[in-house]
Symmetry: C2
Subunit: 192 residues, 2 copies
């Protein structure tokens, strides 16, 4: 399990054997059952996770209606940085859609990670730059793009997730009711 | 001029005398006249700037209508990171509202900065984390907050800019026509 995390880090920086031991000791294994909250509304996001098994959904509770804006699956980091970085309560929710195994590091231990790994600051900068660009693109898509386009984008970004996510949650990501999603799918398959 | 940039960097990290020389050699002084573009629409943002004199406006051209979303003044960094980090064309525009003096570093030289200054990666991570959080708050305010609230936020964030920015550009930031801004100002002053 730790190997996929180490690979993910070593894609960006080099770790010495001693540093591999430090990473291994700082990230703790945690299990979430389907339906459990990685981050509940109003909570402070206290950790960054790395998904080794399972699937989670990011959403906003908009006056009782769920608005899904992202998913995290195996080999993805999971975190609401808007809450995690300044350590303020989250307006967003992250919930397990399947039973999950997550390697997670606390805010305090992440500071230790930055101090004790030579290239950790570089790793942190590159990750946050990537998350920043991705978040801006997601947000702009959320406000601007048409449902057909968002469905196309979902298939492109998560081709392997169509079988793992309910029509209800895909519709919520696309920004339509489930019956409208069926119409979009029919229209797109007729166009082929 | 370079001293305010060095102070700004040294608020976050320590620089040795040799590193101060490197920073001084990597940032180049450039003058922009009022109306000049730091970044024009469709251009790739090729540098990060540090404003030592003057004022700039960030905006989007929305079908011929300007939508202002931020300002940069003395001792602020100025950049569209959405374009700068992945080096892709910008949908946003940054224009000088006054004659400006800017110390700027190119994308290539910034990589050199990261390589040659011991704590540069830490500095980069902290800056980008701050920009990330700030951008998310600005974007959310842009889409969600009412004009009254945005005007209050503008006064709070830029109390010294009320005299330097035209009513036209403040109205564009608040998201209303200039005549509506007068009504908002009147209402707020009556409430006091």
């Amino acid at each position: 399990m730790i190997n996929s995390l180490l690979d993910s880090i070593q894609n960006l920086i080099t770790l010495s054997p001693a540093e591999i031991d430090i990473v291994t000791s700082l990230f703790k294994e945690k299990t979430y059952n389907k339906g459990d909250f990685f981050l509940a509304e109003g909570q402070i996001c206290k950790q960054v996770g790395f998904v080794t098994r399972g699937l989670l959904r990011y959403y906003i509770n908009d006056d009782g209606e769920d608005k899904t804006y992202d998913f995290a699956q195996e080999n993805n980091f999971v975190c609401n940085y808007e809450s995690f970085i300044p350590q303020i309560p989250s307006t967003k929710i992250i919930q397990a859609l399947e039973d999950c195994e997550i390697l997670q590091i606390s805010h305090d231990d992440l500071q230790l990670f930055y101090k004790s790994i030579r290239q950790a600051e570089r790793f942190g900068r590159l990750v946050i730059e990537h998350v920043f660009i991705q978040t801006l693109q997601d947000l702009s898509s959320f406000y601007v793009d048409k449902p057909e386009y968002r469905y196309g984008r979902f298939i492109e970004k998560h081709p392997d997730l169509l079988q793992r996510i309910s029509q209800y949650h895909i519709a919520s990501y696309v920004g339509v009711k489930p019956q409208s999603l069926s119409r979009i799918r029919k229209r797109l398959s007729n166009e082929k």
